[in-house]
């Protein structure tokens, strides 16, 4: 604050100096003219010129004296005054520390939070996508009739190739799929990188231009063409040091020599990050291939809407269901705008947060208004004294304006800091699809910041000035004689306004708190869902085998068996297993199956199961219980009787009363298989606690060979300590294979509720901030009431009123306001929380427990805020209270 003072002083000096220069020259000129005129008059009267001049000067009188007087009148100028106002303002704000802190904090929170949230919403939902003509881009999906809602399902190559030839709505169409590839650069360990296969048409459709080199062509996107690839800018920098001679060079990718033809521009992003882009190279065999794993991007022909394209896709799907029933019965197809698919599930949380932050801004404004009114009330006397001492009304208004602006500027400065920090945190909430492109570009949105600051500052000034104008215009005599007893029309009106503001604040705070409460309950419930395995002390490590040596299933399975034995012998390792698609990794392979001996459902309506290949040690290493029969064992070998372990849900669905052990399932996976059920394992939430467990079918890796497995290693101590020995052991078996995602299983668990946790933290923050602001509001009204009625309380106590009765009188107003606000807020919250829909888990939007807690918490806080000033009233010394007026 001393710094502010100095700054104000400096500004005042500079301004004062400029004004002084002008003033002095005017005074001098005017004085000289006057003396000249006087002298001339004397000369005309017959005096000697020199004598006349002397007499004129004398007559003019004490030169400096009138100059001083003139200066005093003249100097009342802008800069002199501003300096005075600022100095006075600083003193006065420092004097009212609580008020100042509350007002600045309110402004900072309101400005910071609103700006941060809006900036993110704008970047993710409103700003155009960073692609050429983004409105013409649609995603094409399939949809299974049995799925509820409008689930977007990936498609298969057969359907994609048919669409690409038959659909008339599009000028271009490309399929793509994410995959991990192993990239071996000369002289380094091979690395496993998330990459993407995509048709040649994809990148040109997005309007992206290569940073260097070129993209692959349609001719290179056919089987048998020389192998080429394109690198992501970040990967190129990281792995190849940004060397420009990479174009034309060869990299070993998945055991093949691939010529790098180009590098993507910096900050390009499209769905998940991809280090290497490789052509799809669809072959004729793909025209009839089963399996769905492709996403499809298409560009609408000019003049075609996405709804028209959607109708055409549905027509094509109806034809396909007839032509290819074994593939497409009960499937339909759809087109949807790209933005919706890119934003995905982030939309609801962002919109809800946006609404919540709007409420927060309203509360902040109400609070600033409230504080301003309260302060003006406190200062009526001060203002009256100043008016009585001759201060011009304009002067008083200028003073109030200066103070408001000082508060606003301090609050806004802190708010900018808050907004900056907020966008950092919130950037992580944005969907990864927009990751580098849009989100890294999320800065504080200047327009929003200006808007929010204007709203907050205007509120402060409006509610600070109105009472100031009023007190400046009033006859000071009234204000002074009325003293602390208050009760003029103006103050009563201000009192009512403040009461209304407090009610609004409390109501809004209730809505925010209800949202926060529901989020907290959701998070608690989510955490409480047993995932079906024990993630503690488990380290994971993924290996996708590449190279000619593993093209044969036996050698691939042999690698994993050998690795499992080596890992099991490491110190600190208690159990080891491996699985094709790790729980919570987001990967799954679904396929239909039938139960042998039960009626065969019509084509397309077969039950769908989730297939995973595991090694015998998997259940023990993950801590998944075997509920019936046995787990898989090393005796379940290739060529032997095919066996399967099914999950609890599958077992209960088809054998609600008996045991499934001994029954059999048939499924198609690279040919038809019939597997005998040997056991039932506990349910696992493979896609996180929000998703119900799937019907799971675990098959032995021996009989269901797969080249990409994830090891799960149960350790006796800290799992991370085993990471280095694990890498070394695997490198020992084959140094050419990359190991990915070496991390504790608990990381996956934490990530699976990550979004909910962030939403909860934000909501809780809003709720608490809203509550604190409302508390300040209630306290302010209470304190004001007590201040106003101090005289009355003094009399009552002097006449023998009990402390208790004075307390209840003083507290009543605060409680009444809190009650009204609470009622309004609960009604508002009940009609708004259903908008949170998908954010919630396990609780209904009108969850009575939450609402009761919110009501109790708010009532308690309100009572406390009202009680403090009331209690002060009872501490009044009646004599002092009476004498103070």
């Amino acid at each position: 604050m001393r710094f502010l003072d100095t700054l104000a002083e400096a500004a005042a000096r500079l301004g004062g100096w400029l004004v002084r220069q002008e003033r002095e020259s005017r005074l001098t000129d005017e004085m000289r003219f006057h003396v000249d005129m006087q002298a001339e008059a004397l000369v005309r009267g017959g005096a000697e010129p020199s004598e006349a001049r002397r007499r004129a000067l004398v007559a003019f009188g004490g030169r400096e004296r009138w100059r001083d007087a003139a200066r005093d009148e003249y100097r009342a100028q802008f800069f002199d005054r501003l300096g005075q106002d600022v100095r006075y303002g600083v003193r006065s704000l420092l004097h009212a520390r609580v008020y100042t802190a509350a007002a600045i904090a309110t402004l900072a929170l309101g400005i910071g939070a609103t700006t941060a949230i809006f900036s993110v919403v704008d970047a993710v939902l409103l700003r155009p996508l960073p692609y050429a003509d983004p409105n013409g881009l649609v995603m094409l999906w399939e949809h299974h009739m049995s799925d509820v809602g409008d689930a977007h399902n990936v498609t298969g190559p057969a359907n994609f190739l048919d669409w690409r030839e038959e659909a008339r709505s599009f000028s271009a169409m490309a399929a793509f799929v994410g995959t991990r590839v192993t990239v071996a650069a000369a002289g380094g360990d091979p690395v496993s990188e998330q990459s993407r296969y995509a048709n040649a048409a994809l990148l040109p459709m997005l309007g992206v231009k290569p940073f260097i080199g070129r993209f692959y062509t349609e001719a290179e996107d056919t089987p048998g063409a020389p192998r080429v690839g394109v690198l992501d800018y970040g990967f190129w920098q990281r792995r190849f040091g940004g060397r420009r001679d990479i174009v034309g060079a060869t990299a070993r990718i998945n055991g093949n020599d691939v010529t790098i033809v180009g590098v993507l521009p910096k900050n390009f992003a499209f769905f998940e990050p991809a280090a290497v882009w490789l052509p799809m190279r669809f072959s004729n065999a793909d025209r009839t291939a089963g399996g769905r794993y492709l996403r499809v991007l298409a560009r609408l022909k000019p003049g075609v809407s996405w709804q028209q394209a959607d109708r055409e896709m549905k027509m094509i799907a109806r034809r396909r269901a007839v032509d290819m029933p074994q593939l497409d019965a009960n499937w339909t197809a759809l087109a949807s705008p790209l933005r919706g698919d890119l934003v995905g599930t982030s939309r609801t949380p962002l919109m809800v947060l946006f609404g919540a932050v709007g409420f927060l801004l309203l509360i902040a404004c109400a609070n600033v208004a409230n504080l301003m009114l309260a302060r003006a009330g406190d200062r009526r006397r001060e203002m009256a004294v100043r008016v009585a001492l001759g201060a011009a009304p304009r002067r008083i208004v200028a003073q109030m304006l200066t103070e408001s602006l000082m508060l606003a500027v301090s609050g806004a400065a802190l708010g900018v800091l808050g907004a900056w920090a907020g966008t950092r945190v919130l950037g992580r909430m944005a969907p990864p699809a927009l990751d580098t492109a849009a989100v890294s570009g999320i800065g504080i949105d200047g327009r929003v910041l200006v808007f929010v600051i204007c709203v907050a500052v205007a509120t402060g000034i409006a509610f600070g000035l109105a009472p100031a104008l009023q007190s400046a215009r009033r006859d000071p005599k009234d204000a002074l004689s009325e003293g602390g007893r208050g009760g003029s029309g103006g103050t009563r009106r201000a009192g009512r306004l403040r009461a209304a503001l407090v009610v609004v604040e409390i109501a809004l705070a209730v809505v925010l708190l209800a949202g926060a409460g529901l989020m907290v309950r959701s998070l608690t419930d989510l955490r409480r869902v047993p995932l079906g395995f024990n993630a503690e002390h488990v380290l994971t490590a993924g290996v996708v085998l590449h190279g000619a040596a593993y093209n044969n299933d036996t050698t691939a399975v042999g690698f994993f068996e050998q690795a499992e034995q080596r890992l099991a012998s490491l110190p600190g390792v208690r159990a080891v297993g491996a699985i094709s698609w790790l729980p919570l990794s987001g990967l799954r392979a679904a396929s239909s199956f039938t139960v042998v001996g039960q009626p065969v459902p019509p084509l397309g309506q077969e039950p769908v199961g989730d297939f995973r290949a595991i090694t015998p040690g998997y259940f023990a290493a993950m801590g998944i219980p075997i509920e019936d029969g046995r787990g898989l064992e090393s005796t379940d070998r290739r060529g032997g009787a095919e066996v399967a372990v099914i999950s609890h849900t599958l077992a209960r669905t088809f054998w609600p009363n008996g045991s499934p052990v001994g029954h059999a399932l048939t499924y198609e996976w690279a040919g038809w298989h019939t597997a005998r059920i040997v056991g039932v394992a506990g349910d696992v939430h493979h896609d996180g606690p929000r998703t119900e467990p799937y019907m799971e079918i675990y098959l032995p890796l021996e009989q269901f060979p797969y080249s990409g497995m994830t090891f799960v290693v149960r350790t006796s101590g800290d799992p991370v300590a085993v990471a280095a020995p694990l890498r070394a052991a695997l490198r020992n078996i084959d140094p050419g294979q990359a190991v990915a995602d070496v991390k504790p299983m608990t990381d996956f668990v934490r990530a699976s509720v990550g979004d909910t946790r962030l939403d909860t933290v934000l909501f809780a923050a809003f709720g608490v901030i809203g509550l604190v602001l409302a508390m300040i509001g209630i306290y302010g009204v209470g304190a004001y009431t007590v201040q106003q009625r101090r005289h009355e309380f003094g009399i009552r106590m002097a006449l023998g009123a009990q402390r208790g009765s004075v307390l209840s009188m003083a507290i009543r107003r605060g409680l009444v306001l809190a009650g009204v606000g609470l009622a309004v807020g609960v009604v508002g919250a009940l009609s708004l929380t259903h908008l949170m829909g998908t954010l919630l888990f396990g609780v209904k939007p009108n969850d009575p427990v939450t609402f009761v807690w919110v009501a109790v918490a708010l009532a308690a806080v309100a009572a406390l805020s009202a009680w403090v000033p009331a209690w002060r009233a009872t501490r009044l010394d009646p004599v002092a209270a009476l004498r103070s007026d």
Binding site: E30, F33, H34, M37, Q38, A41, W66, A69, E73
Partner: protein, 113 residues
């Protein structure tokens, strides 16, 4: 100014007289002095120490405005002119003055007999 009781007495009156002289037309400080002196048959002698502060005060209150102009003798002088506000102010002060002098007159006419 407050140290000289006579100035205090003049305070309000001087403002009114200055406004009155300017009602006749724009004028510089010297001209106002002359006019007040001659108009009152040398009874009112306004000191410059009072006149200029009064002019600046009235200007700040926007009852008068000022600008540099050239006199008939080709000299540069600061001319003061009445504003609309000033005209209104003058009317108010006149009325006050009339009421006041009437009241004083009534008191002075009280006789004991």
């Amino acid at each position: 100014m407050a140290d000289d009781p006579r100035n205090d007495l003049l305070h309000g009156t001087l403002d009114m007289l200055v406004l009155k002289t300017l009602q006749l037309g724009p004028m510089h400080g010297w001209g106002i002095t002359e006019l007040l002196q001659r108009g009152s048959a040398d009874v009112l002698q306004v000191g410059q120490g009072s006149l200029y502060p009064a002019l600046y005060r009235l200007e700040r209150q926007r009852f008068i405005k000022s600008s540099w102009q050239t006199t008939e003798n080709k000299r540069r002088a600061r001319y003061y002119a009445l504003t609309a506000r000033g005209r209104q102010r003058l009317a108010e002060e006149r009325e006050n003055w009339a009421r006041m002098s009437h009241a004083i007159e009534m008191i002075l006419r009280l006789s004991s007999t």
